[in-house]
Symmetry: C2
Subunit: 222 residues, 2 copies
Amino acid sequence: MESDNYSLGARVFHTIRENILSGKYETDEELKEKTIGEELGVSRTPVREALRQLELEGLVTIIPNKGAYVVGISQKDIRDIYEIRSRLEGLCARWAASYITKDELDELDENIYLSDFHAAKGNAEQVVELDNRFHEILYNASHSRELKHVLLDFHHYVQRVRKITLADTQRALRSNEEHRQITEALRQHNEELAERLANEHMMNTIQNMDSYGWDNLFQERK
Amino acid sequence: MESDNYSLGARVFHTIRENILSGKYETDEELKEKTIGEELGVSRTPVREALRQLELEGLVTIIPNKGAYVVGISQKDIRDIYEIRSRLEGLCARWAASYITKDELDELDENIYLSDFHAAKGNAEQVVELDNRFHEILYNASHSRELKHVLLDFHHYVQRVRKITLADTQRALRSNEEHRQITEALRQHNEELAERLANEHMMNTIQNMDSYGWDNLFQERK
DNA sequence: ACATGCATAATTGTATACAATTATACCGTG
DNA sequence: CACGGTATAATTGTATACAATTATGCATGT
């Protein structure tokens, strides 16, 4: 999804974020600048910058002169995010319906085709990557910097949950089917339909998580 | 809205953000760590941290080894944000309709009452503050950390535009009337109505900006 | 045994020093 | 005069040093 040609500071940021979202750093764990710096082989400076950024993202809480603590992501947080996303992905699809190009539609088609293949094979990693890309194309097609920004944030935020739900072949294939319908609505430039389908796509994911069982989604964490 | 008991670093962050949003730093202007540090009487370290945070907020772009540049906020950005907010404020009101308490409803009533007073007097500053507080109560009443987080971000983002639109007495009074209707829906725990009214409240703001004339909203910037 | 207070250690906050990279200005050459 | 190259300066990136604050542990007294 994104290149590795990052500066050191940016890499530190991504590493810590990944460690929080993957559950490597536990909820309420204190993140000490010195310790993390030693782990990653850098000084405190880039670690501090990363922690300050992560606070803005809501992943850590910083108590001045005390420390940085991992903010837990509750089941309700995840639900809320998907409900927020349902509204915004809907708006995104609506806008994309106006602007989307033939090239983008072609890539969406290919994306779904490939995802079906990998889902059938059980290649969860690739399915997640293709899902990332599918939504990213829509974000770009919305032609809205602000909407893309906020949606990308949330998308990253729930990456861990998506890795689990999309590992289920049945859900992955159904998700692809929903992607196909959205793509079709976009091709027809049908704003109303595109919005409704993208909206439902997210709500279906919540339903899926409900039936999957939230305990299973969180078992690795604790 | 928030206390001033901040650490130095946090204050630097807020100052720079304010300078960007108020237009003191022009679009595409290069923000040099040394210069800003001297302006604010601090070293480069807290400035760097602030700039990295502002990049995450989308207010500056950082080109590695080159510099930090102010990202311009276009008219379309503002429109998009209000449309995004219309969806999310609607969702927020819907959730708040379930959770809102009598105390919060009382504060909303008082808030509107005071705002009417200040609007009539032409105290734009107070009207903006009360508007901030009105929406903040709703964000809290939604009982959703994630929704509150993203809405607060956007709310700050458009602070400058709000200062202008709410300086118009007619618009301020109409805004208060809309607040009153939303509050009434909340009091009745009418989710559907609350969502629709909050949604329309934002869309009306867009309409108002349209009739106000975008050029006037941006005249100070350029 | 437990609470209290003080000394010490650990940690964060800020400033500064140094390294790496990029911009600038000057000079020579065609 | 235009162009290019090189030395110099300016700026960012990272590490370290020092100050301020907070945590820890031990001794003391009750």
